[in-house]
Amino acid sequence: MNAARSIQAGTRTALAGLGLLLLLAGCRSAPPPPPTPAPVQRATRAMDQAARLTEQRNWPAAIRQWEAAVSHHRLLNDRQNEAIALHNLAQAQRAIGRQAEALEHLEEASRINRQLGDNAEWWRNQIALMQIEIAAPELANAAATRSEQLRAIFPQVTDPNLRGMFLNELAVWHLERGEFQPASAALDEAGQAFANAGNQHGIAVVTGNQARLHEAQSNWREALRTWQMALARFENEVDLLGIAAALAGHGRALLALGDFPAAENYLRRAVFNLRALDVPERLIPALEALIQSLEAQEKFPEAEKVRAELQQERERARPPSADQQDPGGT
C-alpha cells in the first residue's frame, strides 16, 4: 500500500517537473540580436534612401545619396556594395545627361566586380555601358567593340534575365544600324529569355522594340498591331514611360496609315504624358508627329501653337555649355 502510494507521489512529482520544464522551455526566447554598428547602419540607410530617390526620379538628390553610399562602403571595405552603389550612381548620372561620369563609374564598378569574380554584376555593368554607348552616336565604335566582345562570351550567361537584357540591347544596336534581320532574331530570343525568367516588363519592352522594328521597315499595319500589344503590356506593368511611348507609337502608325484624327488623338495624349514625365528626347519626336497630323487636317493655327512648343523644347533639350555644367560627381 505504502509502496503504491509512494509510486503515485513520485509520478505526480515527475509530471509536475516535466510540465515546469516544458513551461520554461516554451517561455524561452532567443537573446536579442546584437545592434548593427553605426557605420554599417549609415551605409545601409544611404543605399535605401538613394534607391527611393531613384525610384522617384529625383536625380540630383539620388546622385548625392549614391555618392554617400559609395563613400560609406569604401570606408567599410565592402567592395561588393561599393560596386553596386557605383553602378547605380552611374545610372542616375546618365539620366541627367552626365554620360562621361556615368561611363567612368560603370567602368570602375566593372573592374571591382571582375576582381571579386561577381559575373552577374559584371554583366550588368557591361550592359549598362553598352546602353550608354549605343545611345551616343560618337561612341558607336566603342559600342560595336563591346557588343562583339560580349557576344563572344555570351553563351556563358545562364541567368535568363541577363540574357534577355543583353539580347534586347543587341537588337537595339542592330536596329540603330538598320540591320533588321539580326535585330528581329535578337528580339525574338530576348522575348523568349524574358518569358523564361517570368519578366513581364522585359516582354513589354521587347514588344515595343518589335513595333519600332516594324516602323523602321515601314510595315505600318504590323507596327500598329504590335504597339497595341505593347500598350496593353505596359499598362499591366504600370510603366508610365512605356505607356507614353506606346501611345506615341500608335499615333505615328495611324499618321502613316492616313487616319489623321485618330493619330492626332493618340499623339496629343502621348504629348501630355511625356510632358508630365519630363522626357524631352521622346517629347520632341511626338510633337513633330503631332504637327504633321494637324497640318494634314489643315489645322494650321493649332499646328503653329505646337510648333512654338516644339521650339521651346528644342531650346531646353540643347546640352548646356561647358561653363554651365553641374560640377557635381565623385
Partner: protein, 358 residues
C-alpha cells in the same frame, strides 16, 4: 508497530526527537501568531479600525467616476473613504446620495462651512471627493460638525444657524455637507472642444468680415485720394469764384439765398452725428473682437494648463509603447512563436538595370 514493541534505547531516542519536534512546532506557532498579530495591528492602523469615524453625506448630480471605498481627501491627506453611493428617488432635487466617513482627528477640521468638492482625478473620467477645511467663514458663525467627550463622538450639529447639537443615536443621519461638483476632465475637455468648435466659424467669419471691411476701406481711401487729386483744380477755381462773389455789390449777394447758411449748418450737424454713430459702432466692434480674442487666449491657456498638469501621461504612454514593442520583439524571438512573425527576406542588392525601349 506499537511503541511498547521498541527497545528501551530506541524509545528514549524517539521521545527526545518528539520533544525537539514539539519545541519547534510551539516556536513556529508563536512566530505565526506574532506575525498575524503584527499584520492585524498594522492593518488596523492603516484602515483606522481603532479610530473614531465621523459620518457625513452629500448630494451630487452624477456618480460618474466615483466608487465605494475610494479615499476622501482633506488638505491633500487621505482622511476617510466613501461608504455608500446610491441614487435618489425620482422627483427629488438631487440625483445621487453619497455617504462617507472621516477619521479622527481630521473631522475636527470639518465645520459647518466646509464643503465637498467633487474633483476630476485624471483623464480617464475618474473623480474623487475633497472636503474643504472649515471655520473660516466671516459672513456667518461656523460651528464644528461633531462634538466629542472623553475621546468618543457624542453630539452632532443639527442647526448651522445657532450651533444647536443633538446627541448621536443609532438612527441619527450623518451630517450633510454641501457639494461643489465639477464634471470629469473628459467631459470638460469635450465641452471645451465643442465650444471651440462652435466658436471657430464665428471667429473665422469675423476675421473674413474684418478683412473685407479693411479691403473696402483701403479701396475707398484710394478712390478718395484720386478724387481729391482730381478736385484740387476745381477747389482752386471755386476759391477764385468765391473771392469774386465777395464784396459789396458782388454777384454772391444776388445769387445766394439767406437761408443757405442754415441748411449748411444742418447738413454739417447731421454729418457729425453720422460720424459719431459710426465711431461708436467701430468701438463696439473692436471691443467685441478684443473679448473674442481674450476668450481664445483663455481657451488655449486652459488647454496648456491641462497638458502641463498631466505631463506624466505622455511619458507613461511612451513607456507603454516601448514595453509593448519589447514584448513583441521578445515574442518574435521565441522558438515557439517566431514562425508567426517570419518576414519576407529582402531581395539581394543589385545594380539597377532596365532594358532599353527604342
Amino acid at each position: 508497530m506499537g511503541l511498547q514493541d521498541l527497545t528501551p534505547q530506541l524509545r528514549t531516542r524517539l521521545s527526545r526527537i518528539e520533544r525537539v519536534v514539539g519545541v519547534f512546532v510551539t516556536f513556529a506557532t508563536i512566530l505565526l501568531l506574532a506575525g498575524f498579530g503584527y499584520y492585524l495591528i498594522h492593518t488596523a492602523q492603516r484602515k483606522g479600525w481603532f479610530l473614531n469615524k465621523a459620518p457625513y453625506f452629500t448630494y451630487v448630480q452624477s456618480a460618474e467616476g466615483l466608487r465605494v471605498g475610494e479615499p476622501v481627501k482633506l488638505m491633500g491627506f487621505d482622511v476617510g473613504w466613501i461608504t455608500l453611493i446610491t441614487a435618489e428617488a425620482p422627483g427629488m432635487m438631487y440625483n445621487v446620495y453619497i455617504e462617507f466617513v472621516i477619521l479622527e482627528p481630521f473631522y475636527g477640521y470639518i465645520w459647518s462651512d466646509s464643503r465637498v468638492k467633487v474633483t476630476a482625478a485624471d483623464f480617464l473620467g475618474n473623480r474623487y471627493l475633497e472636503v474643504t477645511k472649515g471655520g473660516s467663514d466671516l459672513t456667518r458663525q461656523p460651528y464644528p460638525t461633531y462634538r466629542e467627550t472623553d475621546g468618543v463622538l457624542t453630539h452632532v450639529l443639527i442647526r448651522d444657524s445657532d450651533g444647536e447639537f443633538e446627541e448621536i443615536t443609532r438612527d441619527r443621519a450623518p451630517y450633510w455637507l454641501e457639494s461643489d461638483e465639477s464634471p470629469a476632465l473628459t467631459a470638460r475637455l469635450e465641452a471645451l472642444a465643442n465650444q471651440a468648435e462652435q466658436a471657430l466659424p464665428q471667429i473665422l467669419s469675423l476675421t473674413n468680415q474684418l478683412a473685407a471691411a479693411l479691403e473696402n476701406a483701403a479701396s475707398a481711401t484710394d478712390r478718395l485720394d484720386t478724387l481729391l487729386t482730381d478736385a484740387r483744380p476745381v477747389v482752386t477755381n471755386l476759391a477764385v469764384i468765391t473771392k469774386q462773389l465777395q464784396g459789396p455789390g458782388a454777384l454772391g449777394e444776388w445769387l445766394l439765398p439767406t437761408n443757405i447758411h442754415q441748411q449748411l449748418e444742418n447738413t454739417l450737424t447731421a454729418s457729425a452725428q453720422t460720424l459719431s454713430t459710426t465711431q461708436t459702432n467701430i468701438d463696439m466692434l473692436s471691443r467685441q473682437i478684443s473679448m473674442s480674442l481674450e476668450n481664445v487666449a483663455m481657451l488655449t491657456s486652459n488647454l496648456n494648463a491641462q497638458v502641463q498638469a498631466n505631463s506624466m501621461i505622455l511619458s507613461d504612454i511612451s513607456e507603454l509603447v516601448i514595453n509593448a514593442d519589447e514584448l513583441i520583439q521578445g515574442l518574435r524571438r521565441n522558438w515557439l512563436l517566431r514562425g508567426a512573425f517570419r518576414d519576407e527576406p529582402d531581395p539581394p542588392q543589385q545594380g539597377i538595370l532596365n532594358p532599353t525601349l527604342r
